[in-house]
């Protein structure tokens, strides 16, 4: 029937083959769909309407996406804006509530209403486009707040570790500064180590360099490369094709809420077989 379906099957087999022998995935996404009611201008609504409503009343941000994330993966999600990449990423830690489908994390279905999502979020870091540091806390407090309050680890230990993390990103001397006193690049580095302070199993990056001045993109990407090399599992939504190529071990191309292509960087950039991907890459590379 449709070649789309065939391709999807084909893709699934490919991925399954590629992932054979990699053990159990950290994150498994099954048939995830997220639709918003059309209301206002692309404003995110918390709940979507019932499925009976005609389709044109909804925007399908993510449509029937399935994928797995394995330990040590650096999965880079690319695609034109509005393709649903951020919504997909934000669904992984349930900042977006999926309309249907499942997200498995450590054998727990996060989409299950009975799941206590907070304890799983503690194990998934998230880095935002606009940093979202806490402006009323010092840099050091930004790092130590969650480990002390949520993981109940001893304050001295948390603080010592936070100082080490700050030293690692070269900002130990700013420990007592407030976020407003830092540059964008510094803020984003702090945001990354803030998530590291929780010892997460994986970190989600939602366009981490998109709000930065061009000269500050490098320092943030360097830190992310460093993290990838240390074996951190990462899912990254980005427009940085260089990063995707150099650091990612898997690249996913999304458009209109669907995964159109998935593969290793070599497969992707050397011979992209999807016409939309070709077009996209020709514009951004």
């Amino acid at each position: 029937m449709s070649s789309k379906k065939n391709k999807a099957e084909h893709l699934k087999n490919d991925v399954a083959a590629a992932n054979a022998g990699r053990g159990k995935p950290i994150i498994r996404i099954e048939h995830l769909t997220k639709s918003f009611e059309k209301r206002g201008f692309g404003k995110r609504k918390r709940r979507s309407g019932d499925a009976e409503q005609p389709d044109d009343a909804h925007i399908h941000a993510v449509q029937d996406v399935s994928l797995s994330l394995y330990k040590g993966d650096v999965m880079v999600i690319i695609g034109p804006s509005g393709s649903g990449k951020s919504t997909l990423l934000r669904s992984i830690n349930m900042l977006e509530t999926p309309t249907s489908g499942h997200i498995w994390f450590d054998n727990v279905d996060l989409t299950d209403k009975a799941t206590k999502i907070d304890q799983y979020r503690q194990r998934m870091g998230m880095v935002f486009q606009h940093f979202n540091l806490f402006p009323h806390k010092t840099i050091l407090q930004n790092l130590t707040l969650a480990p002390i309050k949520l993981q109940k680890r001893p304050e001295a230990e948390v603080r010592a570790e936070a100082m080490e993390l700050l030293a690692r990103v070269g900002l130990a001397d700013r420990a007592n500064a407030y976020p407003s006193q830092l540059s964008g690049g510094q803020k984003q580095r702090i945001a990354i180590v803030r998530s590291l302070a929780m010892h997460p199993d994986l970190i989600l990056f939602d366009e981490p360099t998109s709000a930065l001045d061009p000269e500050m993109v490098g320092e943030v990407l360097d830190l992310m490369k460093d993290l990838a090399r240390s074996g951190m599992t990462m899912a990254v939504v980005t427009h940085e094709m260089g990063f995707a190529r150099e650091v990612g071990n898997r690249i996913i191309f999304m458009e209109s809420g669907r995964i159109l292509a998935e593969g290793t960087p070599e497969q992707f950039y050397k011979n992209p077989d999807n016409p939309r991907l070709k077009e996209f890459l020709s514009k951004v590379l």
Partner: protein
Amino acid sequence: MQAFFEDLANDFYTNLIAADRWKLLLQGLGVTMEITILALILGLALGFLTAIVRSTHDKTGKLIILDAIARLYTTVIRGTPTMVQLLIVNFVIFASISVSKVLVAVICFGFNSGAYICEIVRSGIMSVDEGQFEAGRSLGFSYAGTMVHIILPQAFKNIVPALGNEFITLLKETSISGYIAIMELTKAGDIIRSRTFNAFFPLITVALVYLAIVILFQQLWKRLERRLRKNEQ
């Protein structure tokens, strides 16, 4: 000219010194402050509580019944004159229950102020960027934990000027307590006026006392605002 000053000195004496009338004003001031501060505490508690209920409902769609109650509360309180509320609390609600008049006033002004503080706090919570909320939740904080550790401290900083304003309003509003026979500052001045048949001294004195308290309070509040702002430079 000299006669004028003599008259002035005489009036000053009869209205403030004679029969220890200044003590009456001082007592009245004490009652005014008592009502204001207790009502403010009650108002802050009610205001924060209702504001949290209302913004939780706005954000999550939960707490439907509590939200409806909170909305009814702010609508009714803000939609009727404080004076009428005071009379209702005194002559209807506490008509057959004997409690101290000051308590009646504290309850009335507390509930009244709470409705305004609710809106102030709500605007403060709404002024905090949505990303702050997401950052808190993504770290694993619960809704309540995010509110307490991340949203409310920032909201509070944003509403400090408006809260100062509310204190000033409340302080002056308590001057209607005389209508339920509470001897607060305004009533004290009025009693002196009725005794001495001189309106100028007692009323101007009362006005100056209010003014002095407000100015003093403004200075203190300015210092607090400055200290809070220093936190983030």
